[in-house]
Symmetry: C2
């Protein structure tokens, strides 16, 4: 009994240490990249997003330009895409909630679905496989979240190869060496395929700067919501934007959603880590039931010491859904609500959300064509 108690206390201490490490990781990255906490800036917005208020969206670069565009009702754009190697998960959901907030405040929304990246980095077996997922699973979920067709431009890279003309156009404004410094370079015989480095160095930048081409009204403030690990792309695109006479894109940074397996962030490529927007009730119940938590196997111990919400995937999942962040945290820390009960509540909340979301999918599939970007980029072809 003593041995077990010791183990329990050790585990508790490890989780506590990890929560501090996680906090330090974000603080260190902010300092390293010269980013500013978003909290101090939020008063300038007419109405910050829920994720900003909850601290899920926590830092920014150049958000001043966006606040100005909103205040003066000037055109601005937002860009955020993803790898369609699987359906949307709850980590993506947070990003799209931010995009919805941006659309509400006047932004034109651009959503590249990068089936080329999925394929060339090995997450999908072919361009076609990732393309199919994009149309059948990803786009309907995006639409079902409530985007307006007129201000939303979704494209799958291989169906909008204009993006490669833009990538070629911008390619002379950067070098491979800059990318190698940022992303590293596999020097072995099995090293990088040419598509990967072109994607990272030019296609990604083309996607971010697309809204500033004449077809979409020319240079304008652009906001890119990203995870902190994506900052190198922002840096590269800011550099290229300046050389091209565009406005360097601003960005806001979102905290990763913890994977439910307790092993790093939620990611579509690790199935056990993720809750998908297309999940069945059965899968939701199962994956939440077996999920890692910030709690402790001994009820008595947890009632006394409380859980550690800062590292708990169930906690981060719940606070994204409900508005009583402080209450959930308190109930956990005080030991009032233990993990079993908390998981039950999480399951209920998630199923409630999914049932509403999934009911909208059939209609969303019918509306899909209204959202697809088809605008030819004639300015590049004609040099005007």
């Amino acid at each position: 009994m003593n041995l077990i108690q010791k183990r329990v206390e050790k585990e508790y201490k490890e989780k506590k240490d990890f929560s501090l490490k996680d906090k330090r990781y974000y603080q260190k990255k902010l300092k390293e990249f010269g980013l500013k906490p978003l909290m101090q800036f939020m008063k300038y917005f007419p109405e910050p997003s829920e994720n900003m208020k909850k601290g899920i969206t926590y830092a920014h670069k150049d958000i001043e330009k966006i606040a100005e565009a909103i205040a003066n009702k000037k055109p601005w754009a937002a860009v955020s895409g993803l790898n369609p190697s699987g359906p949307l998960h709850f980590g993506h959901k947070i990003v799209f909630e931010e995009l919805l907030w941006m659309q509400k405040h006047g932004a034109d929304i651009f959503i590249p679905l990068t089936n080329d990246e999925s394929y060339i980095v090995g997450k999908s077996g072919s361009l076609a496989e990732a393309r199919k997922i994009a149309y059948n699973q990803v786009i309907p979920s995006i639409i079902a979240m409530g985007f307006k067709p007129k201000k939303t431009h979704i494209f799958v890279d291989s169906d909008y190869p204009e993006i490669y003309n833009i990538a070629m156009d911008l390619s002379t404004k950067t070098t491979l060496n800059k990318s190698f410094k940022i992303f590293g370079f596999d020097q072995t015989e099995k090293g990088e395929n040419p598509g990967t480095m072109f994607y990272r160095s030019a296609v990604q930048i083309a996607q971010i700067l697309l809204p500033q081409y004449p077809e979409f009204g020319g240079p304008k403030p652009t906001l890119v919501p990203v995870g902190i690990d994506q900052y190198p792309y922002i840096l590269l695109s800011r550099d290229v934007a300046e050389k091209k006479g565009f406005i360097p894109p601003a960005s806001i940074f979102l905290k990763f959603l913890f994977g439910l397996d307790g092993k790093g962030k939620m990611s579509a490529s690790k199935e056990d880590s993720s809750l998908f927007l297309t999940d069945s009730e059965e899968r939701v119940r199962k994956i939440i039931k077996t999920a890692y938590t910030g709690g402790n196997p001994f009820a008595d111990f947890q009632r006394k010491h409380g859980g550690i919400p800062e590292i708990c995937p169930i906690y981060t999942l719940r606070i994204n859904h409900i508005n009583f962040k402080e209450k959930v945290k308190e109930e956990c820390l005080s030991g009032e609500v233990l993990c079993g009960e908390c998981k039950k509540r999480a399951t209920k909340e998630v199923l409630q959300y999914l049932s509403k979301h999934q009911a909208k999918l059939p209609e969303a599939k019918k509306e899909l064509y209204k959202y697809l970007l088809r605008t030819p980029i004639k300015s590049i072809l004609d040099g005007k």
Copy 2:
């Protein structure tokens, strides 16, 4: 007088040495790349091309496959493109004569006009600039040479961005490191732009393997006529073809046309080196008059020793036009026809060709749309 005579003799000796060096260059390259002289193979063709008979097209890799396709009337393809940074010159003309020969013997002809390459390597100021030259100057000249619309597929890269989907599709079958080994890599801050390496490592290969995609009937023997300096592309594309289950492309090698300025090969980027198919009579007269030759400023000396046709741009230009190769060479070597007279004949022959060619251009411009490749590559999008 003695001094001048010495100089004349020295110059003669230098030119002789150069002619041997040039011969050795081609022999060395054949050996280095394991290519075979075409001469020994020509008997297998029903009718070799004029340029083959004259030794302008001089070596091959895998031509056996093509001879077999011709003999059995099986489908085969030929691919050769160019950088549309200027109008076609007489060096290009030789390549297109070979393509015409291939079309006559059953090949489907694919001609990529790589305005992306023109732009990213700095030969054109923009994608649009090179695109304009492609449509206004290059394509009409190609059509005027006599290609049949049904078996000729011309495309400008930025108007056929499907080529980038193919490049992405093939990209997983090669690595950047292979390209670096072949093409070198500028490691400085001013180093390669990402587009250039993607072009060299993947887009170029996509162009060469395009005829083997299902939309064009699937795997088939493909012949690529190139200058020996282009062999690395052939090697890369053969490697990728095998991994993709395609037939490794065959190639024939053409000798460079000497530049009229006596400084290396004829090249559109060195204007003084080139005679263009769009040149005015005035420019033709001027550029041939001032051209470098294999001759000698002293008539007496040349009458005695003869000229050195092997290094003479006027000689190589003339033998491409007329069928009496041996006669021209003999007249030069024997000192019977001196450079002045030879240049007069060259001028007449070139003007004769250009007057016929340029008369066809207005009609060719009207027919242009019949030659443009627009086939979507659905097999990549659908994975079929």
